[in-house]
Symmetry: C2
Subunit: 317 residues, 2 copies
C-alpha cells in the first residue's frame, strides 16, 4: 500500500448523538450512532478531500468495534492499523446539543479505552515515517502504553515531514493539568505543527494569551502554531508571519466536530501548499460547515462544500 | 409514607434499545432510551398493578441518573431510596434484538456500577422490614459494599413476610460461577421465595434438573421455588404441591423484560393471595405480553392486559 498522506493516531469510538436538540440526556428519547474520536474524525475529514488517510487506533472486540471498521472503510479511510483489544468495550460518547455554544460530552471509556492500549511494538513505524502528515493528540499521552507508543512514533518521525500535535486537552482523562503539561511538553519538540484552543494552550505552555502562546509553542520547536480563540477567530504564526482568520458566521446546530473538520482541512491545506492565510480561511470554513450539521465524522465536507461557504460567507480577514 | 407492598433492591440504569430489529449493534442506526435494570423493572411492573412499590438503588450523579428518577416517578414507583454516587456514570445497557430467542446484552457498568455501591449504613432497614414483599437479586451480591448491604437487609427481614431472591446470574459480573454460588447460598436461607431459570438454578444449587433444583431450593429454606424452563414452561413448588405452567405462545418482539414482568406479576399474585396455579398462569402471561413489546420497563402490562391475553391465549396447564 502507498504511504499515507494523512496518518492520525489516537482516540476512536462510537458517538451517540441525541435526535432531540436543546434538551439534556435526562430528556433525550432517541440517539443516532456515528463514528467518533477526534483523530479518527480528522482522518475522515482528510479522506473527504481525497487524501489517502489512515488512523492508528484500537476498538473493543465487539459489534461496535466492527462498526468502527465499517464506518472507516465507508469513508475511504484505511483501517489496517485498527485492531481490537479483548476485554475492553468500544467506548461510547454521548453529547448534549444546546446551540450555539454548549455541547457537553459524556464519555463511557471504562474500565479503559482500547485506544489507550496501543503498544509501541504494534505501531508500524515505517508507515509513521512514510506518512506526509502524521497527527497525534494530547489525549494519546494521558495513559500508558499509548503514551509511550505515541512518543515512540514521534521519535521515529524525527521531525521529518509535517507532524501535528493536536493539543486536545480533556481534563477528565488526566489526574491534573500539570501532568498533561508534562507530557505535552515532552511531545512538543517533535511536532512541526501545534493546534489548540486557548485552554489547551494554557495546558501546553502555561498561557492563554494568543500571541504569547504562539511564541511559547515556537520556543518549544513548533514551526506552525495555530491558536483557536473561539469567537475571536484563529491566530496562526509561522516563520515570523502571523495570520488572523475571522470566524465565519453560521447557524450552529452542533459545534462538536468543527475542530476535527478544521484539522482535516489543515492537513489538506498544508499538503496542497496553499498560502497560510488561505489555509486558515479554508480551515475556518470547514469547521463552520460541520457546525451547521448534527454529526461529526459523518458531516465532514468536501472541498466543494467548503469553497461554497467561502464564496457565500466570505471569511476574508 | 406507608410501607411498600413491593420493595426491590439492586440494579438500575439506562437501556438503549435498537430501533432496528434483527441486526447487530454493528448495523443499528438509532437507539431508544428506556429505564432498565432487573429489580427496577420488577418495581415498575408491580406498580402497573397498583402496588405501592419502591426500589433501593444508586445512579450516577449525571443527567441519566436524573432520568432514572423521572422515569420511576412517571411509573408511580417511589424513588426515595434512589441516590446518586459521585464519580460513577449511570450504567448503560445495549441489547441486540434477534427474535424469537436471541437478545444479547452489552453492559457499560464501568468503572463500577453505582448500584453496587449501596452501603449497608444507607439502607432504611425499617422500610425493608415493613415491606410486604422484599425482592433482591443474585447480581446484588456480586460486589461489595452492595453484597453486605443486601445480606444485611435480608438479615433484618429475618424471613418475615415474602422475601424473594431472584437467582439472576450474569457471568460477566462474577469471577466464577463458584463465587456466585457461594454468595447466593449465603442469601438463600433468608429467602422465602426463589426464582430462576435452569442455568441460574445450576449456579444456586448445582443442578439444572427442574425437580431436583426445586427440592434443593426447598432444602436451603425456600418455601416457594419457581424454576423457569424456557419453552418447557415454569415449575413452581410450595409445601409439597407442584404446579407446571405452560408458556403462552406469542409473537416475540423482544424477550428481554419478560422475566421482570414475570417477577412483578409474581409479587402481585402473591400479595393477592391467589392460588399457586393461578399465580403462575398470570406470571407467564405477563411475561408473554412484554415479550411482544420492544421495551422492558416501559412495556409492563396492566392487570387488564394480562387477563386479556389469558382469555385469548389460554395458558391453562
Amino acid at each position: 500500500m502507498p504511504a499515507c498522506e494523512v496518518l492520525t493516531m489516537g482516540r476512536c469510538g462510537v458517538d451517540l448523538y441525541p435526535q432531540q436538540v436543546g434538551v439534556s440526556l435526562r430528556e433525550v428519547r432517541t440517539f443516532e450512532k456515528f463514528l467518533g474520536g477526534s483523530p479518527t474524525n480528522v482522518a475522515v475529514a482528510a479522506a473527504r478531500y481525497g487524501r489517502r488517510s489512515a488512523v492508528i487506533t484500537r476498538t473493543g472486540d465487539d459489534p461496535f468495534g466492527a462498526y468502527v471498521h465499517d464506518a472507516l472503510r465507508a469513508f475511504g479511510v484505511d483501517d489496517s492499523f485498527v485492531a481490537a483489544v479483548p476485554g475492553l468495550p468500544t467506548p461510547i460518547t454521548f453529547c448534549e446539543i444546546f446551540p450555539p455554544d454548549d455541547f457537553p460530552l459524556y464519555f463511557y471509556r471504562y474500565p479503559k479505552a482500547p485506544d489507550l492500549e496501543i503498544d509501541e511494538s504494534d505501531v508500524d513505524l515505517d508507515a509513521v515515517r512514510a506518512a506526509e502528515v502524521f497527527w497525534v493528540t494530547g489525549t494519546g499521552l494521558c495513559q500508558e502504553p499509548s503514551r509511550t507508543a505515541t512518543l515512540t512514533a514521534l521519535h521515529a518521525r524525527d521531525r521529518a515531514g509535517i507532524t501535528v500535535l493536536d493539543l486536545d486537552y480533556r481534563p477528565m482523562f488526566w489526574e491534573s493539568r500539570d501532568q498533561a503539561r508534562r507530557w505535552i511538553q515532552e511531545a512538543l519538540p517533535y511536532a512541526s505543527v501545534a493546534v489548540g484552543n486557548l485552554d489547551e494552550c494554557h495546558t501546553a505552555v502555561g498561557t492563554r494569551e494568543p500571541r504569547k502562546a504562539a511564541a511559547a509553542l515556537h520556543d518549544a520547536g513548533v514551526e506552525l502554531a495555530v491558536v483557536k480563540q473561539g469567537p475571536d477567530g484563529v491566530l496562526a504564526s509561522r516563520a515570523g508571519r502571523e495570520v488572523q482568520a475571522a470566524p465565519i458566521p453560521v447557524d450552529v446546530v452542533n459545534g462538536l466536530g468543527a475542530g476535527d473538520a478544521f484539522g482535516g482541512a489543515l492537513c489538506h491545506g498544508m499538503l496542497s501548499g496553499w498560502d497560510l492565510a488561505e489555509v486558515m480561511r479554508f480551515c475556518n470554513a470547514a469547521g463552520a460547515v460541520v457546525a451547521t450539521r448534527l454529526a461529526c465524522a459523518d458531516a465532514m465536507p468536501t472541498e466543494f462544500e467548503v469553497r461554497e461557504l467561502l464564496n457565500v460567507g466570505g471569511g476574508r480577514d
